[in-house]
């Protein structure tokens, strides 16, 4: 597979996941963030001699771009829109949805880094080393942040 075919395959396979990652991290324009991440990856594609580096680079880029977006939103005093769930299933899954709503609200109360760690761990299924790589922190920090995040999540749920 030539270099650009590899890039195209990565785009096909990962664009939606990167967009959803940006969304779960709280960005209000996840598509734009995923697109920007891929444009930056494209610029660096020839320097990524090992294809396995591309996905970690993308994840780190999406995390960084989402942080920038959230900072911008704070500056202009805008609040990212909340997640829109499927209203069709509202009645049949009322209780489950109520529970999910509580967890979503509790997630929203966590610090930015705690939310990032939980999304990368429990949605992307990354191990601690990969999370550390994406966030640019030490593995020990990931362990501690995950533990604090789960404790805080539990506490917010009990208080709520």
């Amino acid at each position: 597979m030539d270099a650009m075919a590899g890039f195209s395959a990565l785009f096909d396979g990962s664009f939606e996941a990167m967009k959803r990652l940006a969304y779960l991290l709280g960005a209000d324009d996840p598509e734009n963030i995923a697109q920007e991440a891929f444009v930056r990856l494209h610029d660096r594609w020839h320097t990524l001699y090992d294809d396995s580096k591309a996905l970690p680079y993308l994840r780190a880029m999406v995390v960084n771009l989402s942080r920038s977006r959230l900072r911008h939103l704070r500056v202009v005093r805008r609040t990212p829109p909340d997640v829109l769930l499927d209203e069709v299933s509202a009645e049949t899954h009322a209780m489950a949805r109520q529970e999910h709503k509580r967890i979503r609200e509790a997630l929203g109360k966590l610090s930015r880094r705690q939310r990032e760690v939980l999304v990368l761990r429990y949605w992307m299924d990354l191990d601690q080393a990969a999370i550390a790589d994406a966030l640019g922190v030490a593995v020990g920090t990931v362990k501690a942040t995950t533990s604090h995040a789960m404790n805080n999540l539990r506490r917010h749920l009990e208080e709520g």
Partner: protein, 252 residues
Amino acid sequence: MDELEQRLRSVLTEMAEGVSPSRNAWAEHEHRLAVKSRRAKRRPVLMAAAAAAVVALIAVPVLITGMRPDKKPELQQADSPSAPSLPRTAATQNSPVYLPQGGETVLTQPFILVNERVNDVDQMTYAYTVRRQGQAMLCFSRRAASDGQLLDGTSPDYDSQCFAMGAPLPGKVFWTHRAVTTSATSGVYVYVASSPTERVMVRTTEGQFVIASKKQASSEFGVFAAVLGSTRPPAAYTAQGPGPAYAQLENG
């Protein structure tokens, strides 16, 4: 994994699935790369321009004067007899028709882009535009003239090459442009530009100006074509509005 972790995983999955998939992500990506590439090309030009502002102030009026259509010796009309092989508009011949395949809508019907004789066979190259699953595309199909003017996209044997087009950014008009090379003809260029583009002025690397005239139009854009008579890519091109002013709309 404890219960809270399972619930968290479930909520995150549900939230992620609530994000609707993008329909034209790859086309948008290509569009962004193209915009970025244009900006990157302009950056050194802008820096040089700052240093040579006086020169530019002199050069621009000269260039504009050089592009005026009344300077006939430098101007080559794409449809004029001197143009190598671009046929007259489709309306003057039996109009070709494209039969769209499932999921396609025809935006502009085909016109004959190149008409050439290869190995004693008349070969036609057609250009047309479609919208395929929401994505606007510029398509080319090459076939023998004896195959007739019906381009049957539903046929399993139908052969074409299509390229995604992105709607221009606000204030811009170009959707895409493509060079077309066949076994016997090169230097054929197709431009797609939004209204009110009336024509596209192309400057060759040899310094000649060629007008790419409108061959077909949809409600959104016109399709323009020109034969440059050169194997080298054009030095520059400009979308121009209606005459007689032919105001510059976008330079490429």
